[in-house]
Symmetry: C2
Subunit: 217 residues, 2 copies
DNA sequence: AGAATTCTAGATTGCGCACTCCAGAACCTG
DNA sequence: CAGGTTCTGGAGTGCGCAATCTAGAATTCT
């Protein structure tokens, strides 16, 4: 998919590269991109200067790799949750997971993708594009779930699920940002409760009659 | 209000300081904090190195001043709009103004406060606190409008307007972030339309009967 | 095995940029 | 108008950190 994969890495090489990216991702989440020195990355990953520059042309290239890494990381982690977004129960599980995750992190770092995006937006066009693509994927995942909810007849037919999915994503991002800055999970919880209430209100009468907790089958 | 205003500035001094902060604010919005060199600020403000360090201890102090400046800037600009948030018409005017503003800026910079917050969150605790306070003020403004809407009986009595205001703020922030990264006003527009629809759905029957466009008086 | 390639290592370099310094101009105050 | 204070100017400094360089160790290939 990516164009410029010039050379094949050895298995060991690939692992080293991975260690670097992973360490960089963690540090950049905790301290921001500008706040992360390459030396820190080396230390955290247990590699030498030469190795970093063996695998990445410069810091920006590493940052791009971190964006890709976080995209996969986040979306992989979300996948099982997104797959269940076609029911109210699934929506609530999604909400709970996000809030709980932030609670565990003590609200540090915010959204791994959103934070990177915010830092890169006016600095690194290539980075911004990748983050945009990542959000597009995320939006697609939510959209998919909601569309299934609509196809099952639980969501009214005239609802624009594409817009609705975008609303959910913005609520999530806004909630995460406020949560990161206020250091409380409340904004995130309230934002997600809000979007869930909104979706709930858009259900068909048949959908609303279903005991939301009960199994459907 | 602030504690450490050691010395009184001359009128001219105050103006110079203001020029510096304003120039810094603009540049930091366009390029981010880390992407803004003090030299650029000097150039843009038409001042010398000495002047910057005459008014600010270091770059961080300048950044704090920029946060305060942007808080006032944004909230002053919002004030007339927030004052009308107690009607559906007012809500829509608010939405339109935000979207139009982003369109004019071609979606560059995102939210002046949110962007700063995101950059400072894991780097500068003092900065994070000021941004948090700024959001608190903003939230208060929205809350005030919605509460008046409730007091007028248009919004159902059992609605938690504090939460609702927070939802609106998160929708706005999330919308702005996505808009900044995607370089389209659509996420912002959709997010705000969503929260407006949600508020609309929470109106009392009496409130819903009112022709939403018509004057109330 | 031996050549070619990939990987590891860390000392060194170079420069961008925050910050210092000092000297002089403008401005208040009595 | 003398003496203090605030303000302005810009040359100069130091250092943090990205990026280079060189040389040697491990793999892979034939």
């Amino acid at each position: 998919m990516s164009i410029g994969q010039e050379r094949a890495l050895t298995r060991k090489g690939a692992m080293t590269r991975q260690r670097i990216v992973q360490a960089a991702a963690e540090l950049m989440l905790e301290r921001g991109i500008a706040g992360t020195r390459l030396e820190d990355v080396q230390l955290a990953a247990g590699v030498s200067t030469g190795q970093v520059y063996h695998y990445f042309a410069d810091k920006q290239a590493l940052v791009l790799a971190v964006v890709d890494f976080q995209s996969d990381e986040v979306l992989d982690a979300q996948e099982p949750l997104l797959a269940r977004l076609d029911t109210m129960t699934g929506l609530r599980a999604w909400r709970d997971a996000m809030v709980e995750h932030q609670r565990r992190l003590q609200c540090v770092g915010g959204c791994p993708i959103g934070s990177l995006g915010s830092e890169l937006a006016e600095t690194d066009p290539a980075g911004r594009h990748r983050v945009a693509a990542s959000f597009e994927r995320w939006h697609g995942g939510i959209h998919h779930g909601l569309r299934r909810m609509q196809e099952r007849g639980e969501l009214a037919a005239d609802v624009d699920v594409d817009d609705l999915a975008l609303e959910a994503l913005t609520a999530l991002q806004g909630g995460l940002l406020l949560t990161q800055i206020q250091r409380t999970t409340r904004p995130l919880a309230v934002a997600l409760d809000g979007i869930i209430a909104r979706i709930s209100a858009l259900r068909t009468q048949a959908g609303q009659l279903r005991r939301t907790g009960a199994a459907v089958r």
